[in-house]
């Protein structure tokens, strides 16, 4: 629907990430493919260990040994980036791909004033003078909604509250006008009322600057509020991808359906919550066939032998027996 219209900004194909361990290689990511269109917010949701953060790490080129890309390709605006030399990747990071991480206190340098951190980043990536960089830093702080930005620019990170710090981190990510931002759990460390401020801000900036965002989170609520499309991950694979309204309202993969049903509602009180029994398999014990089959109520012998594929279309599920025919756009 969205992805096929023009050339995608980010295109990931059959990405496979392997960790070499003492007991042989562990496949952490297995055949992950997705596109992000310019200006689009793609949510990546899944439980801990499903591989959502790893996907973001691979895209931004921060995968550390023993993890390695064992297959597949990553293209940014048509250019292949997964095999770039480290130096070229370093220049691309920050300039064309920005990053926002979960804990704003650890992603800011505690001994540098926030203004200096912004100026340094701007000077690294853009051919401007120091004075221009400072003016740009001030504009950015105003844009992310920091009150009294003129004085706050000379404050240290510890003088800011959690929500304000995350705004500074967003300003840092926006410094060089990247076309893609990887936001890994950007609101998880914040209170609900602050969380809403930050997601609203992200969404507004994404619209105004035409920046695409890959939003990695475990919180389906944040995805539903913020993303245009959502990819649900399970045991290193994408099990369902599609527009957020369709996936949340009419999930097609049994795992997504179970996940949606296990979220307690704020509107009605149910006697019993739907639960998916068991737990996600460990990486060294991923069952053959569909990885979800031991926990799936619809699994048949076929599921235990054949790995389901994921069609690259509007709303698709990697399932042999999807709950409904996914609506294809």
């Amino acid at each position: 629907m969205t992805a096929s219209a023009a050339q995608p900004l980010l295109s990931v194909r059959d990405l496979r990430i392997v960790f070499d361990g003492r007991h042989g290689p562990l496949t952490a990511l297995d055949g992950v493919s997705f596109d992000i269109a310019p200006g689009e917010i793609l949510g990546m949701v899944g439980e801990s260990g499903a591989g959502k953060s790893l996907t973001g790490t691979a895209v931004i080129g921060l995968l550390e040994p023993p993890g390695r890309i064992a297959g597949g390709e990553i293209h940014l605006a048509g250019q292949r980036i997964d095999n770039l030399p480290a130096e070229q990747m370093r220049r691309l990071r920050g300039r064309r791909i920005g990053a926002i991480f979960q804990d704003p206190l650890t992603s800011l340098h505690p001994l540098l004033k926030v203004g200096d951190q912004l100026v340094e980043t701007i000077l690294t990536h853009l051919p401007v003078s120091r004075a221009e960089a400072r003016k740009r830093a001030l504009d950015l702080l105003k844009e992310v909604g920091i009150p009294a930005a003129e004085t706050r620019i000379d404050h240290f990170p510890h003088q800011f509250s959690g929500g304000m710090r995350q705004r500074v981190v967003i300003a840092l990510a926006l410094c060089a006008e990247p076309s893609l931002i990887i936001a890994d759990e950007p609101t998880t460390a914040l209170d609900v009322s602050i969380q809403a401020q930050i997601t609203t801000l992200l969404k507004r900036l994404c619209r105004e600057h035409g920046t695409a965002i890959m939003l990695v989170t475990h919180d389906m609520g944040v995805i539903a509020e913020t993303a245009d499309r959502v990819a649900v991950m399970y045991a290193g694979r994408i099990v369902e991808i599609g527009p957020v309204e369709e996936v949340t309202r009419r999930p097609s993969h049994p795992y997504t359906a179970g996940l949606m049903a296990s979220i307690p509602s704020v509107h009605v009180r149910h006697e019993h919550l739907n639960q998916i029994d068991g737990a996600m398999p460990r990486l060294n014990a991923i069952p053959p066939g569909c990885a979800f089959n031991p926990r799936c109520g619809r699994a048949e012998a076929f599921c235990r032998e054949n790995k389901p594929g994921l069609p690259l279309s509007g709303h698709a599920a990697a399932c042999h027996f999807p709950l409904k025919e996914a609506a294809h756009a």
């Binding site: 801990s48 009322s193 539903a224 979220i263 307690p264 509602s265 009180r269």
Partner: protein, 344 residues
């Protein structure tokens, strides 16, 4: 004091079980009356002397009163720093109230004994609350041995096995170490350890916020089942409104150490009276209504050392009038609900 009340304000308050038949309707298990908890966070006396700084008092919990009925769940909701965890610590006795008192009423247990309820706590982080060097069996057996609840070792092991099965683990798990378990399973172990004391009252401080949603559902279902089976009473602390909605019979919304709204959960959720409650309900992400337009609450929680004058919520409140900036609203009874707002 020789009545059927255990008072935590007294230093050596030993429970004095008195044979008093509790009236059928009067099944209150915990009574918190005007409890306050203040911390002195002033600079050291000498530096205060030189810099002429005044003493600084952090009012973590201010004038909080509520009762919890036996076999029900009372939830406390609020953002970080609102005092909900301090209140939980006061209830389990880890923190003494500066003013006011918290008292547990004696209860009649299933085995016929009468006495104050046994109180246990379930912590947020199941990775930090279990000793990594102890086997699960020993972790659960510790309170049984310490309180001498079983006479011999065979009975202790039997009880440990039963408890593991009660929380959905297997008997053989007793010989494994905590690292072999996932987050959800560890939280089950914490629950088993709390139940090992034959607890009647569990204080659960964010028991599922470190867990994934599908695992959260398993733990919440387990807690509901145990409540029915053993008649447990929960004091449930959370910032997650949808979890609170699922679990609570009664709830209180806290803001800067005070209750702003308290009452039956159903009523607070369907007819929120206080602007803060309304805003909280409005800002939580809703999976049932994706991409709805919402206006986020402006501002942040002010510092509890220097709270705003008048109503503490006034800087963030859209309805705030001059009166709100001067006069602090009392917690007033409006039907079944108590609200502290001049305009409720």
């Amino acid at each position: 004091m020789r009545d059927n009340v255990t008072t935590l304000t007294q230093d050596q308050a030993m429970p004095q079980p008195v044979m008093i038949e509790t009236a059928p309707g009067d099944d209150i298990i915990l009574d918190v009356a005007a409890a306050c908890c203040r911390f002195d966070v002033s600079a050291p006396a000498l530096s205060r002397l030189f810099s002429h700084e005044p003493r600084r008092i952090l009012r973590a919990v201010e004038n909080v009163s509520f009762t919890v009925k036996r076999g029900t769940t009372f939830s406390i909701v609020g953002e970080s720093g609102c005092g909900k965890s301090t209140l939980a610590r006061m209830v389990v006795g880890l923190q003494r109230p500066t003013e006011g008192k918290l008292s547990f009423r004696d209860i009649r247990r299933a085995d016929g004994t009468i006495g104050p309820p046994r109180v246990q706590m379930i912590f947020q982080d199941p990775y930090a609350s279990l000793n990594p060097r102890w086997r699960v069996g020993d972790i659960i057996a510790e309170p049984i041995r310490e309180l001498k609840l079983r006479s011999d070792e065979a009975a202790v092991q039997q009880r440990v096995g039963d408890l593991l099965e009660t929380v959905g683990l297997s008997r053989t798990d007793a010989s494994r170490y905590p690292h072999a378990f996932s987050g959800g399973q560890r939280q089950r172990i914490s629950i088993a350890r709390a139940l090992a004391t034959e607890a009647d009252f569990l204080v659960c401080d964010e028991p599922t916020s470190a867990l994934d949603v599908s695992v959260q559902a398993q733990i919440l279902n387990l807690m509901v089942r145990l409540q029915k089976e053993f008649g447990l009473t929960y004091l449930f602390i959370s910032h997650n409104l949808s979890v609170v909605r699922h679990m609570s019979d009664d709830l209180a919304i806290m803001y800067l150490g005070r209750f702003v709204e308290a009452g039956p959960a159903e009523q607070v959720f369907t007819q929120p009276q206080h602007p803060y409650t309304r805003l909280l309900l409005d800002t939580i992400p809703d999976v049932e209504r994706p991409n709805r337009a919402r206006r986020p609450m402006s501002g942040e929680v002010p510092s509890p050392i220097n709270p705003p004058a008048g109503c503490t919520f006034n800087p963030r409140c859209a309805q705030a009038a001059d009166r709100c900036r001067v006069e602090r609203p009392e917690l007033r009874q409006l039907g079944d609900v108590r609200v502290s707002c001049h305009f409720a």
